[in-house]
């Protein structure tokens, strides 16, 4: 457990380092939020300078960094020039939307991948296996970009799903059940795109983990005892195959915030993705850093969680000390 605490601290240190680095990078970058404005002939140079002073952009770098740190302590995470409010509030809303999408998609993906992976593994070597592997390969080769565009096309052509956004106009007036339905209908396609994107890797891992276990002696013995197939697969084989899957779960958690970036942008889901892109195009520094830190935090937390789960699940690791 001391080991986990050490890793946690190391993670925090890492995030801190990242924040310093990004600030430095921003310093090296030519221009800032107000450079675009300066190009506009209608706004006088004095106005721009005045704005600069009021935003505190003319302060030396270390001072700016300290101010930013202080605002983190206040929960504000800096100030967004484009949206004219503290970054924290912005992040919170968008992060909530992103997490809604990604947790749904991740849960769905795992719910599909485990039984499907088990089934494929049990048909190992047959034509089902080979067909599935082929399909998985093609799906894996399809970039997320295209999955998103494809889903969008489906929405446009079929008319069954909305082509963007999280809620319809007039959402606030709907009753509770109708609200849920509206949300679900908007959620469906982005989630589908994400599920399709993550299925190949999940399926591969579940399948290979199970295949290894199915070769093990204790499974053969169980078969020899005549234990029915389904029970064998799910009660005997699956629990033994759990270790690599736990690491994978950690990875899924780690990418909860960052994995949906592209899909959100393509399908106009109001999450962190579009926020980040806007901020980049507008050179809204604090928002960019806020997004990076948030996703970094989730990554560190996810990996740590995976370690902890692994530790709890595998008694062997507990006795011999956590492997490095």
């Amino acid at each position: 457990m001391r080991y986990t605490a050490k890793r946690f601290l190391a993670g925090i240190l890492l995030l801190f380092l990242v924040s310093v680095l990004t600030f430095l990078l921003a310093e090296l970058a030519p221009g800032d939020f107000l450079s675009e404005m300066r190009l506009n002939p209608q706004i006088s140079a004095e106005t721009v300078e005045a704005l600069r002073t009021s935003y505190g952009l003319d302060q030396p770098l270390p001072l700016r960094y300290l101010r930013w740190l202080r605002s983190i302590a206040k929960g504000e995470f800096g100030f967004s020039f484009a949206h004219n409010r503290p970054v924290g509030a912005l992040l919170w809303v968008r992060a909530r939307n992103t997490l809604l999408l990604t947790t749904t998609a991740t849960a769905l993906a795992w719910l599909i991948a485990i039984p499907l992976g088990v089934w494929i593994a049990s048909r190992q070597g047959g034509w089902t296996d080979r067909l599935s592997l082929g399909g998985i390969s093609v799906l894996q080769a399809t970039p997320e970009l295209l999955l998103g565009l494809g889903c969008l096309l489906l929405a446009a052509r079929s008319g069954l799903f909305p082509t963007g956004g999280m809620v319809s106009l007039g959402f606030a007036e709907l009753g509770f059940a109708a609200k849920l339905r509206d949300l679900a209908v908007h959620l469906a396609l982005p989630a589908a795109a994400l599920v399709l994107g993550s299925l190949p890797i999940l399926l591969r891992h579940v399948r290979s983990a199970l295949v290894e276990v199915l070769d093990a002696p204790f499974v053969r013995v169980a078969r020899g005892h005549g234990i029915p197939r389904r029970r064998l697969l799910f009660r005997y084989a699956l629990p033994a195959a759990v270790n690599p899957l736990i690491s994978l779960l950690g990875f899924s958690i780690a990418t909860l915030v960052s994995g949906s970036l592209l899909i959100e942008i393509i399908m106009s889901w109001p999450g962190l993705g579009p926020l980040l892109l806007e901020a980049i195009l507008a050179r809204d520094l604090h928002v960019v850093i806020g997004c990076i830190l948030l996703s970094g935090f989730f990554l560190v937390a996810g990996n740590l969680l995976a370690d902890v789960l692994l530790y709890l699940a595998d008694p062997r690791i507990q006795t011999s000390g956590t492997p490095r």
Binding site: L14, L17, V18, T22, L25, A26, L28, A29, P30, G31, S122, Q124, G125, D129, R130, S137, V138, Q140, A141, T142, P143, L145, L146, L149, L152, L153, A156, R157, T163, V211, L214, D215, R220, R223, T255, S258, G259, L261, L262, I265, I266, L276, L277, A279, I280, L281, R283, V288, C291, I292, S295, G296, L299, V300
Partner: protein
Amino acid sequence: MARKSQSPRVRLWPPAVVLAVVYALAIGADFVAPYDYFAQNRSLPFAPPARLHFVDPAGNWHLIPFIHPLVERPGSYGEYVEDRSRIYPLRFFLEVPSGQRGFQRWNRRLFGVDEPARLCLLGTDGYGRDQLSRLLYGARISLFAGLLAGGLAVALGLALGAVAGYYGGWIDELLMRGAELCMTLPWLYLLLAVRAFLPLHITPVEAFLLLIAIIGLIGWARPARLIRGVVLSAKERDFVRAARGFGGGDLYLLRRHVLPQTFAVALTQIALLVPQYTLAEVTLSFLGLGVAEPVPSWGNMLATLQQYHVMVSYWWMFFPAVALIGVILSYHHLATVVQKRLGVVTL
């Protein structure tokens, strides 16, 4: 259920040939592409792919296929019909009226039709630019960005991983912490972030080189870790110790004994990373942060699909996506073959 699955014999040449052809086409775009990538034709926006015919309206059979020029259907907007009264056969090794193009010194192109007809085998975009030509020119950008970035990342990873593994000590610690840093953050985020801090308006050439540099500088981490592992175990082998006993210096040992053992891993990493990096360029250009108009990249070609009417009505604009999937599949296949042949185990 107990039998270990036999995967089908994978052969090296199919994906290698496909990739070689694709890259050759990209290099030779000046010759193969019927038109320049910036050549507009405002009278033919979003025209569908041209149809090649062998039989003319009179019922005669032609050996060399021909096309009927497209004209707008009278009374409609954006709809095209073929003008059956005119026939333009395919011509090969056409002369280009305006002198040299790009790299090539030879002012001919592989195929095309006489003016004023346009041969657009993959249709046109909103400015009437031939999509096939843009696909080929775009391949130069996207494919080579991926290739160069992959090469850079693996080269860096090889150098740094070998140094870390061979010398150990504080260099090792430092490099591995750095690698962890690069690997901790999600790479798309990292890419976007680094791109964010660089000037937004840069020329396409600058963008191209910048992209390669950024991706390579972030992507060195994974190959470096793997190579470090190989070097660590190679260093301990007896024959390396023996060579040291003969007075072999570090450079000799690295060159003759240690590095050759890393080549298998390096090759596999290249086969795995190049498609990823190609995709990275496409994604960045798609988002508007990469190579900008008018220089085509498969990314900014796909960006037009974000417009509703384009996506719904003009299916030929999806071709860069098809090409991309094909390239990625070939690389994955190649990576599998390389792994099997060289007996490499990757994470």
